[in-house]
Symmetry: C2
Subunit: 311 residues, 2 copies
Amino acid sequence: MSLNELMPGLLHVASKDDAVDFEAWMQAELRVVESALEVWVPADAPAGLGEAMRYGVLDGGKRLRPLLVLAACQEVGGSREAALRAAVSVELIHAYSLIHDDMPCMDNDVLRRGKPTVHVRYGEAQAMLAGDAMQALAFEVLTPEAGVDPALQARLCALLARSAGHAGMAGGQAIDLASIGMPLDERALRDMHRRKTGALLQASVLMGAACGRCEPRAWDALSDYGAALGLAFQVVDDILDVTQESHTLGKTAGKDLHANKPTYVSVLGLEAARRQAADLRDRAQDALRRSGLAGTATLSQLADMVVERDN
Amino acid sequence: MSLNELMPGLLHVASKDDAVDFEAWMQAELRVVESALEVWVPADAPAGLGEAMRYGVLDGGKRLRPLLVLAACQEVGGSREAALRAAVSVELIHAYSLIHDDMPCMDNDVLRRGKPTVHVRYGEAQAMLAGDAMQALAFEVLTPEAGVDPALQARLCALLARSAGHAGMAGGQAIDLASIGMPLDERALRDMHRRKTGALLQASVLMGAACGRCEPRAWDALSDYGAALGLAFQVVDDILDVTQESHTLGKTAGKDLHANKPTYVSVLGLEAARRQAADLRDRAQDALRRSGLAGTATLSQLADMVVERDN
């Protein structure tokens, strides 16, 4: 079923004028993303699986990855339906990784997005299956029978698979696991975070760009933007882990510190970590200026938001 | 990199004459599948992740799903490179599901393919990550930069995602989990197994068929063949669980019985389960005769093998 049949009206794209008001653009797009997740994450999956999947991904989260997809697609004038599908797919991958990451054999966390974690609510087995099914669903959403050019479907699957797998997110989590109590230097820490968090954030930007025509110069610039923003996100995460309370974060604060995990703050110190975040924001903004794209205001403001956020 | 660059010579397809000797065809194809897995499952994934992934998928298993892909592709004269990629992708999905299924929060099994299970060998966290990374790798293998028509890549991703996810394998496992100690009737049992085991086996046949030109009549017949074979496989699995020893199976025998899980044997009794397996084989063979394909000898012999196996 095409997206327009599923969600009439949601294929409307905010106009360039709308985009000037970043906050209005973001709120409108967040509503679209929530509606799309609501439609595509199945309530009727058997034996409670659908309920666990929906619990793990609906009603929570900053939706940064979907916003990056939608903003990048808009800046290159790409296919709205493809971008919405890509937006949902990256959020499904992100949400599944949180569910698995929170499980007792990994971080053993009980609080996420201000709610009990999925395994606390539904049990470990259902949490593992919900994560597994969400990864499959991400690729299902990317490959509809109609509505998106098949070559673009294949390109989006390729970008998503590489960022989620051994060379990206899963590989970064394996390093994270092995690094507990280890004295990582900044270079090793950067490598871990580029994979663990950076790869999917960068892929979100590139999947959005792939939805339209994007010259090599713009593609490379957006790739650099995504890499800088991805690392900035993680540096800020490490800062917030020690400076914010759990109720602001919606997840357990100080957990990396208590787990004896190396972070930007433990390796560089708080002030140097803050400078690092500011430098990475500058690099992201420089990349946008180099892109040659007519308008990059939305991506620029998303980079500011990543660095200035308090949760 | 194209498959021919990675594995020169492996794109050679057994000729129709070779295929007459099923055993020779199978042994040749099994060597190709092992080589392809060897190439595509990365030894260099970080922090032990690659080692755990390779341990979980290399050197073991019947490789029934890859054989179904390759046989179906051959019968429709399809793209050899696409079929080899599809063969590896279905085996990766199958192997990841076994790793997760064996974990303490699921079946808590310590023996698989005659070896300690992945979580016993590498710990639960690494086992979960290895499974997660293998699911992503399945889609990565299906979406090379060159060598396979992008529209076919998208079609293969679509078939794989649907069979692995909430409507297929993961959904079946959720039902399995919820059915422990429950008095399922035959219909509910069939629904569970169609999803849990049948969906990926059927998808293997259809992914092979998608690699070539396949008329609707042949497609529908192969779909029926895959459905019947998929269910037959599970009925036989249930029979072997109570009639064979662990050392023959390479996994713990009698586990469903001890876990108080409903099986074809517990619901129908041993003799009726055996008749059911024979009926399903007949249905699979009937479907092949209806297909209108010139040659279906290999698929026919695979159906026999599924029913006559002792492990």
